[in-house]
């Protein structure tokens, strides 16, 4: 568990249970690692090359802290590969927004937990062009209790996309049922009951979460979760992972689950979906 303040808080009853769980998980992970040493290493990709793989590429920029959840992209890539038929790159890459290579893979994961200075004009132009030509950006505020990153992000998005403002995504949006049936967004914290997004044409090109999704996904090489999840514990972590999978699925399938043929199935299952 990391604490941004630099001092360790007194463990609560919940945290003590979490530590115990972490210890058990660590033991299991060590055993698993011993039995299957390659379980966490990239398997042979089935894709025809890296251009076909789903890469949770992180955004780099000057200032702030663009890497608050260093292991989160890799964990998301792993979970997506494990749970779905999507081929992923298990060692996600990083790129700046002014790097032409961002157009090599259409998914960007932009995380931060602190304010950052304005992006350069080439970075703004790169972001605008990335979204305009079909890219998908997931922005993850790792410090929902602090407005620093939030303020900076809103400032940069209004520069890059002045005609397409951030707007609340409805609870019925496809991102909540692109793979798993979810009721609301959750991450390391419960956070607001909605996601925000930028819609271009008929697709959501950018999703902004203030739930610290990466904090719930982050897990070290030994399999230990790096952050406790509040208030829902491991069930909430599972839902955060599912939301990550859904977002990856949405970026690849768009409104596929809005097709008419899916409607009766989804309507029928909605009632039985997990809370």
């Amino acid at each position: 568990m990391r604490d941004r303040g630099g001092t360790l808080p007194q463990p609560s009853e919940h945290d003590r249970r979490s530590v115990a769980r972490t210890a058990i998980t660590l033991a299991c992970a060590l055993l698993a690692a011993a039995l299957a040493p390659h379980a966490m290493t990239p398997s042979t990709a089935r894709a025809l090359g890296e251009s076909s793989l789903f890469d949770v590429r992180s955004v780099d920029h000057e200032g702030g802290n663009p890497r608050p959840r260093e292991t989160a992209p890799r964990r998301l890539a792993w979970e997506v590969r494990k749970r779905t038929s999507i081929d992923t790159r298990l060692e996600p890459s990083r790129a700046r927004l002014d790097d032409p290579s961002i157009f090599e893979t259409p998914f960007l994961y932009w995380s931060g937990d602190a304010a950052f200075p304005p992006l350069s004009e080439p970075e703004i132009a790169g972001l605008r062009r990335f979204l305009g030509f079909g890219g998908f950006v997931l922005i993850d505020d790792a410090s929902p209790d602090d407005d620093g990153f939030d303020t900076s992000i809103r400032r940069e998005l209004s520069r890059a996309m002045p005609d397409a403002p951030l707007a609340r995504l409805p609870a019925q949006h496809t991102v909540f049922r692109s793979f798993y049936l979810l009721q609301r967004p959750e991450g390391r914290v419960a956070g607001p009951d909605h996601l925000e997004g930028i819609t271009l044409g008929d697709r959501v090109a950018l999703v902004y979460s203030r739930h610290d999704l990466g904090g719930a996904w982050a897990r070290d090489n030994l399999g230990t979760w790096e952050h406790s999840v509040t208030p829902g514990g491991e069930a909430q972590r599972e839902r955060a992972i599912r939301l990550g999978v859904n977002l990856a699925m949405y970026s690849l399938c768009l409104d596929y689950k809005d097709d008419q043929v899916h409607a009766p199935f989804i309507m029928r299952r909605r009632g039985a979906a997990i809370p």
Partner: protein
């Protein structure tokens, strides 16, 4: 010289000249006041010299210049243009036995042909085009069958005719109902004098007509279509006119429209096509007693009825960027009905959830590939492996669907082609490329390198890869796209297939370049194989890095249209110059013939035939195409109104290479407005220096029409005071005055 113009070459023009003149007048006046000579005769001589000197100085200073066009006038030839358009059938009186405009023209031709003259005129008939004729036989030959009156084109063609530079004037015998306009501009540009004899000018006209019909050429099955009808009434008081929309003898809609006297009214009629293919619809109004042109009480139009939308089935083996961008492209087009299924999880995936927590539905294989397969225009397998979904039993149905005329495309990926085991299935029978058996070395050796696909030989004309019309620019456009990554290894291109894109360096087991994109046919269907799953890079990667993502959309747009047999992308085409003709009108037919590989057929013997009901041949012409597979023929349209088709067949063969449909109308556009337009002819004659005769019987013999040929010899410019002599005269005048003043004792 004509239109001579005076100019001053002094800077400042007239103002400078006036200032100099004023200064010289002042010099004269001052000089006279101080002349100092008392003898009247000497005084007058000095004044005259002073004025002459000032005048000479003024002329030398302002340099007046005369310029104008020098014309050469000499006797020229006369071209006589007889209007052969169908408006010639309109009667010039209300009686049954009244003459038609064509009768007036024939009578004139007969009178002129009997006259003796020194120089025979050049005689033509005209409608849409100019045709040579002979005055002696014109009275018998002049048939008003042309669907257009294009006077400007006729004058232009006459000027380019055998008379050439000798043409001095054009005599037009016409009702002036020119549909195209521009005759005055053409005659003025060519410097031709135009005389005119107006036909039907003095007659009053009583006519109800369908002036215009506007309907979409393409309709959709069971979707409401509209036709807008404009009705015109001439020479009758305002009233209600019933308008009926018919197909065959069946009345589909009927309404009434109130039309003012000598005015128009418009009405919209809705109809719903209920059968696929082409249908001829008619709009009909009743024929009132005394109607001068009953032929224009009916108009026909052709509607090609298609399915309302293109139905596409996309089955994808796993979510990927290629599938995402293709789905986005397909859903963006409102005319495409997309049914897509993506395999979101495999049996080996661990979803960590109960089924009710997932938004997954069973893959409805039976519904798709048994019940509804025939309803799709195009079926796409994108990186899809059939085996895990018990699909083996459906593959023969897909093969049969293609053989019956359906379209199928397989798109690459690790779950496609050889890797998915299609070599042993009926799908391999329709694919345009060979598929390796599963387990062979190449099957596993899917290439993963980046490569720039290159156009295969003879492929640049194929619509799938013709991003640009010019072959070199097209190759450059492909070279500029972002490279692809990864390729399914296939073998030979099958019979009927055409390699369109290929790997720049790698070879298949036969030594041929590794195929990237192959098109082909199987039975009556079309098939395509794209051996990569990174075509999205032509969109987003190229777009992001170069600012233009259109190549991706153009490629897939063409692919869908080609697979679904969009007529505009057929390799062989026939085009008629119009969609609608009058009875017995001349039809101009252009054929552009290529084989299934879009390679022009070259020089071939081809028969072009007009077919009526039950494919009964009504007219035909044999023609030899040029090196590019092109040919043009003229045929006569059938006599009876209705829908027809024209086909091209290679001589000695039976397969139709290309076909087009057209309609024959009893009235048509030429008779939609039958009013004569003597005002057009009047202005044409007046502005070109010609004469007009609004009563054909008053028209003189051809000898009397002025055919003087006026030719420009160029612009001539005269500068009389620019020579040294002018300056010497000035000096001499000034010297003479000075000497005389000195001698006579003046200052």
């Amino acid at each position: 010289m004509s239109d001579a113009r005076l100019a001053l070459e002094i800077p400042g023009g007239v103002i400078s000249a006036l200032l100099i003149a004023a200064a010289l007048v002042a010099v004269i006046v001052i000089g006279l006041r101080h002349l100092g000579v008392s003898d009247v005769r000497r005084r007058r001589a000095l004044i005259a010299l002073r004025v002459a000197t000032a005048l000479a100085a003024l002329l030398v200073a302002i340099q007046p210049t005369w310029s104008g066009e020098r014309l050469d006038q000499r006797p020229g030839r006369l071209a006589v243009l007889f209007d052969a358009s169908r408006s010639g059938i309109v009667r010039t009186g209300e009686e049954e036995d009244a003459r038609t405009r064509a009768d007036e023209a024939e009578a004139l031709a007969a009178r002129w042909s009997g006259a003796q003259r020194e120089r025979a005129p050049d005689v033509y008939t005209f409608g849409a085009a100019l045709r040579p004729a002979r005055l002696e036989t014109l009275a018998e030959e002049l048939a008003p069958i042309e669907d257009d009156t294009r006077l400007a084109a006729a004058i232009e063609a006459a000027a380019e005719g055998p008379a050439g530079d000798e043409l001095g004037a054009v005599l037009v015998v016409s009702d002036g109902a020119d549909l195209a306009g521009g005759a005055l501009e053409t005659a003025t540009r060519l410097g031709l004098r135009v005389h005119a004899v107006a036909l039907g000018a003095g007659a009053s006209l009583r006519d109800d007509a369908i002036a215009e019909v506007r309907a979409d050429r393409v309709g959709f099955l069971r979707r409401t279509a509209m036709v807008r009808v404009t009705v015109r009434r001439l020479g009758e008081s305002a009233g209600e006119i019933p308008v009926a929309l018919m197909r065959g003898e069946e009345t589909l809609r009927e309404t009434a429209v109130v039309v003012p006297e000598d005015g128009e009214a418009t009405v919209d009629l809705a109809f719903t096509p209920d059968r696929l293919g082409r249908s001829v619809y008619r709009v009909v109004i009743p024929t009132a007693p005394g109607d001068a042109v009953p032929q224009n009480n009916e108009r026909a139009f052709l509607v090609r009825v298609a399915r309302d939308n293109l139905r596409v089935l996309l089955v994808a083996g796993q979510p990927s960027w290629d599938e995402r961008f293709l789905r986005a492209f397909l859903t963006r087009d409102p005319t495409t009905d997309l049914i897509s299924f993506f395999i979101l999880r495999n049996t080996s995936d661990m979803t960590m959830a109960q089924p009710e927590e997932l938004a997954l539905i069973p893959f409805p294989t039976d519904e798709l590939f048994h019940e509804h397969l025939g309803s799709f225009d195009v079926v796409l397998f994108q990186n899809f492996e059939y085996a895990p979904y018990q699909m083996a039993g459906y593959l023969p149905r897909i093969r049969d669907y293609v053989m019956r005329g359906g379209s199928f495309a397989m798109i690459g990926g690790p779950l496609s082609f050889s890797a998915a085991g299609y070599a042993e299935t009926p799908i391999a029978e329709v694919l345009p490329v060979g598929v390796l058996p599963r387990g062979t070395a190449e099957t596993q050796a899917i290439t993963t390198d980046r490569f720039q696909p290159v156009l295969a030989e003879d492929a640049s004309r194929h619509p799938l890869v013709a991003l640009l019309p010019d072959a070199r620019a097209n190759a450059a456009a492909w070279a500029a796209l972002s490279p692809l990554q990864g390729l399914n290894v296939t073998t030979d291109v099958r019979s009927g297939g055409q390699r369109l894109l290929q790997h720049p360096t790698r070879r298949d087991r036969s030594g041929a370049p590794l195929s990237v994109l192959v098109s082909g046919s199987a039975g009556r269907g079309r098939v395509m194989a794209l051996m990569t799953d990174t075509s999205w890079r032509w969109g987003m990667t190229s777009g992001g890095q170069q600012g233009d993502a259109s190549a991706y959309e153009r490629f897939w747009d063409r692919a869908l249209r080609w697979l679904s047999r969009d007529p505009a992308l057929e390799p062989a085409r026939i085009e008629t110059d119009r969609e609608s003709y009058g009875p017995s009108a001349r039809m101009r037919i252009d054929a552009s013939l290529a084989d299934e590989r879009y390679v022009p057929l070259g020089a071939r013997e081809v028969t072009i035939t007009v077919l009526g009901e039950a494919d009964r041949p009504l007219a035909s012409a044999d023609v030899r195409t040029d090196g590019e597979g092109r040919a043009r023929v003229e045929l006569v349209a059938p006599d009876e109104p209705g829908g027809y088709r024209v086909v091209a067949v290679e001589r000695g063969a039976t397969d139709v290479l290309a076909e087009e449909v057209f309609v024959v109308e009893s009235g048509g556009q030429e008779l939609a407005d039958p009013r004569p337009r003597p005002d057009v002819l009047r202005e044409l004659a007046a502005r070109t220096g010609g004469e007009i005769f609004e009563d054909p019987e008053q028209a003189p013999d051809l000898e009397r029409f002025d055919a003087t040929r006026v030719r420009s010899l160029g612009v001539v410019t005269e500068r009389p005071f620019a020579s040294p002599w002018a300056f010497l005269v000035l000096v001499a005048l000034f010297g003479a005055e000075w000497i005389l003043r000195r001698r006579w004792g003046a200052r």
